[in-house]
């Protein structure tokens, strides 16, 4: 399985130039923008883009069929994809934390590790939830169809949210949420881990009977 995790990172490495440039641009932006420039959006963005690119390289050369013919290939292929995703996420999270820490220190001369940690944790959880939903869809329907599904899903959700916000009065709910907010840092990671586990189990099941 180690080999398969390495494979995903070697795929990332082949595009390393683009990623380094992206990171530098983002770091630069966080320095130059005077206002409150939150770069945490980078985390989900990069993780999704990078991991989707590995899926698309795999699909292009029918890697999934090939790996299935290798010892334990079918079993480890899914596992390694999830592990690679998590390792990558933490790497990006560390990068984002460092850049944020440096830029806030230079600008305000203060360091609030708690705030940074909270921000990163929330973004990390959100990203994992997103990817947990995406992966089983990709494994079930293939990358091409899944891509369309993900776009349609995202738009649909946005549309639905805007529709709901128009007709529903959120004030009492938000008050409740405020209360929830105190526990959020505890609840979110737990929900995330449960979702991740369910997602993994579904993907595994889909892949187990898949024919290539």
């Amino acid at each position: 399985m180690k080999g398969l995790i390495k494979k995903d990172f070697l795929l990332v490495k082949s595009n390393i130039k683009v990623l380094v440039i992206l990171f530098i641009v983002i770091g630069f932006m966080s320095f130059t923008f005077n206002g409150e420039m939150n770069i945490s959006f980078v985390l989900p963005f990069m993780s999704v883009v990078i991991m989707l690119s590995t899926f698309s390289y795999d699909a292009y050369n029918k890697w999934d069929a090939y790996v299935t013919a290798l010892p334990d290939g079918r079993k480890n292929s899914i596992k390694s994809k999830y592990i690679a995703t998590i390792i990558l996420l933490f790497m990006i999270a560390i990068g984002v934390s460092i850049i944020t820490a440096i830029s806030t220190y230079i600008k305000d001369n203060t360091l609030d590790f708690g705030a940074i940690l909270e921000m990163v944790l929330v973004m990390l959880s959100t990203t994992i939830i997103m990817q947990s939903i995406m992966y089983p869809v990709i494994y079930k329907f293939g990358l091409e169809k899944a891509r369309i599904g993900i776009f349609v899903g995202a738009f649909g959700l946005g549309f639905l949210a805007s529709l709901i916000s128009k007709y529903v009065d959120f004030k009492p709910i938000i008050q409740h949420l405020d209360m929830l907010n105190n526990y959020l840092t505890f609840i979110l990671p737990i929900v995330t881990i449960i979702l991740l586990y369910i997602s993994y189990k579904i993907s595994e099941k889909v892949y187990k009977n898949k024919e290539f």
């Binding site: 399985m1 180690k2 080999g3 398969l4 390495k6 494979k7 070697l10 795929l11 082949s14 595009n15 590995t54 390289y57 795999d58 292009y60 050369n61 029918k62 890697w63 069929a65 090939y66 299935t68 013919a69 290798l70 010892p71 334990d72 290939g73 079918r74 009977n209 024919e211 290539f212």
Partner: protein, 286 residues
């Protein structure tokens, strides 16, 4: 003692538009089996079933005397594969493949792998996508050979290779079976590659095995008789396998040209090639 490296028994699988029907054959130790047939005849589906790339099939497949489903990992450790059109993502390079495969096969031999790369004059640090089709095939073959497998399963390993490269590759295959414990299942629609080196020929058409014999039985005994209509009418139905009528002559596929000659004394009996055989079996009349 186990004599067959591979046994396929009554393999069947249904698709919407295609069916594999009771495919059975055996591959003894130390031999090369040529698996021939048109594109879409069922070669790849059979191979995918052996490797459990497809699951939903009936029948039994034994590799090294073990059931291929129950011993999936153990079986695959000793199989080297070249699959048609399926491989590592092409932005990787041959060195990356070594890094990955080291962790996948217990017996992966990096030294041997780089030796093959050198022998095939393949660059070690160039992305696969910059490779020509022939180079890519050679890389796939090098990858298949580098964990000391006992069985090579090769789906169209020579397609896209020029004649010189095909020759090189066939040399490698014959080297591989110098060890009596090792066998090769080689599928191809280019029959000339197999005509000389394959020990067994299994011919599949529309999902069914039409012929399964040793090379010598097929190519030295079978023959194509060319005769006139009056001569043709004298031939017993049981003595002809297939025939074709053209404007000037009848072509008749017979199982044993020597015996046929004795019985009918028709002198124009041609030696056949696998290609003739395939064409006669598919296009000829029963």
């Amino acid at each position: 003692m186990m004599n067959n490296i591979l046994e396929v028994k009554n393999l069947s699988k249904e698709y919407n538009d295609f069916e594999l029907k009771n495919v059975s054959f055996e591959l003894p130790k130390g031999m090369i089996l040529g698996f021939i047939g048109e594109n879409g005849a069922g070669k790849t589906t059979t191979i995918k079933s052996i490797l459990n790339i497809v699951n939903d099939y009936t029948g039994e497949i034994n590799v090294f005397g073990m059931n291929n489903r129950k011993n999936d990992k153990a079986v695959k450790e000793d199989i080297g594969i070249v699959l048609d059109d399926m491989f590592f993502p092409e932005i990787l390079n041959p060195t990356d493949i070594n890094v990955i495969m080291k962790d996948i096969y217990v017996n992966w031999d990096s030294k041997l792998y780089f030796k093959y790369l050198k022998e095939f004059s393949l660059p070690t640090n160039k992305q696969i996508k910059a490779f020509s089709k022939g180079m890519r095939k050679k890389l796939e073959i090098a990858t298949a050979l580098s964990h000391h497998p006992k069985l090579l399963i090769l789906d169209e390993p020579t397609s896209g290779l020029d004649p010189v490269a095909r020759n090189e590759v066939i040399d490698i295959f014959q080297d591989f079976i110098q060890n009596e414990e090792c066998s090769i299942l080689l599928s191809s629609h280019i029959t000339t590659d197999l005509e000389h080196i394959a020990d067994y020929i299994v011919f599949i058409n529309k999902g069914e095995i039409l012929l399964s014999k040793t090379r010598d039985e097929l190519l030295e005994e079978y023959g194509i008789v060319k005769c006139t209509e009056t001569e043709f009418k004298k031939i017993n139905d049981s003595d002809l396998i297939r025939y074709r009528k053209s404007k000037y002559e009848y072509e008749v596929l017979v199982e044993n040209k020597k015996e046929f000659n004795k019985k009918y004394s028709i002198n124009t009996i041609d030696k056949i090639t696998l290609e003739d055989l395939m064409v006669m079996m598919i296009k000829g009349v029963k």
